[in-house]
Amino acid sequence: MITLDAVTKMYPKSRRPALDDISVQVEKGEFVFFIGPSGSGKSTFIKLLLREEVPTQGKVWIAGKDLAAIRSWKVPQLRRSIGCVFQDFRLLPNKTAAENVAFALEVIGKTRPVIRRIVPEVLSLVGLEGKENRYPNELSGGEQQRVAVARAFVNRPLVLLADEPTGNLDPDTSIEIMRLLDRINRTGTTVVMVTHDANIVNQMRRRVVELDRGRVVRDQNRGVYG
């Protein structure tokens, strides 16, 4: 599903590459944890998959498509098949929670009635019933994060990328979200999750890829955090 072949990413301003000659393969339907210290390149990995950044060297394939070869006007199509929880949420500040989630559906051309049915369902799945009409700045950190999670999976993407989806959540809510991701994964969605939460990784016992200073230092099936 996802293949990185000898990918290096060098940001203009930094001295050492954020990703350094990385090759990773994720199969369809897999659930992979990406762990590693702060600044080790996890978010960069996700940005490459979304084509928010392009690799300095190497190639990235998603669902058999070489991202470097995709025409720029086809990029939106690619992104619609990928759901993403961003580390900094990236909610639209001018839209309410419900509108933020609805936006991901409007983009793929769902009709209003469908949207009006699905959005509240999904928001209540992440525990936000009653807060549909709040703007992001009227929600707590964890609530914003849950809106981001809801938006990422509402359109049933092929691949779900989650960058610290539980960073602002208490353990109980985190477990709820993890159950949700697990269920989504069982329906065949490939899930890539970046996390610092050792408890979650240890409990789930899935494949763990550990990065350090832009290199893969561990790639283990049914791994633990540390």
Binding site: W73, P76, R79, R80, C84, L92, N94, F103, A104, V107
Partner: protein
């Protein structure tokens, strides 16, 4: 993509960025009002010139002793002449009347000029005002003719002056057009700039360029349209307050044509079109500039 969605996006966008919207509307209104005023002025002056061109006459003065035969011969010659559009005989009385009328603001001179001092004349209007010196050459040595006033110097001086004013208004109108474009484009760019984060998020969620830009362009166009409407209202108010009231003495002199309601009406759609085109083009192209993802 559904029109309804795009429109509602545009409407909420306008409402949620009230500051930007108001800025956009005010700027557009002011710019377009300037542009419209410049344009009207230019058209005005062009019309003044046309009006004057049609007033150009060659005067063929008769000797005091010109006989009726001389006059008949002249009239026949005028009739056959391809340069002449029409002509008119002016008796001493008529000349004096006209003289009084023309110089009514200088009654002291009128008082000093007796009826007999003014000669009889033919007033000849040309098909093409440029031909006056040709006509003068043709008639100046005819029998009974004392002198042909070609008005050449007068006319060319007058036209030079009007051309100068016309060019100036043209330059002013063009500068105001440039200013209007700059201001509108400027405001739209700032609006786009202030949205760059929002737009980049939309694109990361998979929104196509159309999807992101169309509501924005529509917003700019709607704001532009409202601005154009205000500008046009401004011109209407100016017509009522300034042209029809304050400037009346100028127009009653008859030299300058009145700015008609039809002119004012016509500017409306033109301004609206300018607003929409500028908003559309700038809006569409500028968003790309600020959002690379």
């Amino acid at each position: 993509m559904r029109a309804k969605f795009v429109l509602s996006e545009a409407a909420t966008g306008l409402w949620r960025n009230v500051t930007m919207t108001i800025a956009m509307i005010i700027t557009t209104a002011i710019s377009l009002a300037l542009l419209g005023a410049g344009g009207l002025l230019y058209v005005q002056i062009q019309e003044t010139k046309d009006l004057l061109r049609n007033k150009v006459e060659v005067m063929v003065f008769l000797k005091d002793d010109a006989s009726p035969q001389d006059k008949k011969a002249l009239e026949e010659k005028f009739r056959d002449d391809s340069l002449v559009r029409d002509f008119e005989f002016e008796s001493r009385e008529q000349a004096h009347e006209r003289f009084k009328e023309l110089f009514k603001h200088s009654p002291d001179f009128v008082a000093g000029v007796s009826k007999q001092a003014l000669p009889e004349s033919y007033r000849v209007r040309l098909k093409n005002p440029g031909d006056y010196s040709a006509l003068a050459d043709e008639y100046k040595s005819e029998k009974g003719v004392s002198r042909v006033s070609s008005q050449q110097e007068t006319v060319s001086q007058l036209f030079a002056m009007i051309d100068a004013i016309k060019n100036t208004t043209f330059i002013v109108a063009v500068m105001q057009a440039v200013a209007a474009l700059l201001l509108m484009a400027n405001t739209i760019q700032v609006a786009a700039y202030s949205r760059r984060r929002e737009v980049s998020i939309m694109k990361l969620v998979g929104a196509s360029n159309w999807y992101v830009r169309l509501p924005f362009v529509l917003e700019a166009a709607i704001a532009g349209l409202i601005g154009a409407l205000l500008a046009w209202l401004g011109l209407v108010v100016a017509k009522v307050m300034l042209i029809d009231k304050a400037l009346k003495p100028i127009f009653t002199s008859g030299l300058i044509p009145v700015i008609e309601w039809s002119d004012i009406m016509m500017t409306g759609p033109i301004l609206a079109m300018v607003a929409i085109v500028v908003a559309g083009v700038t809006g569409w192209s500028t968003l790309r500039f600020y959002v690379k993802v």
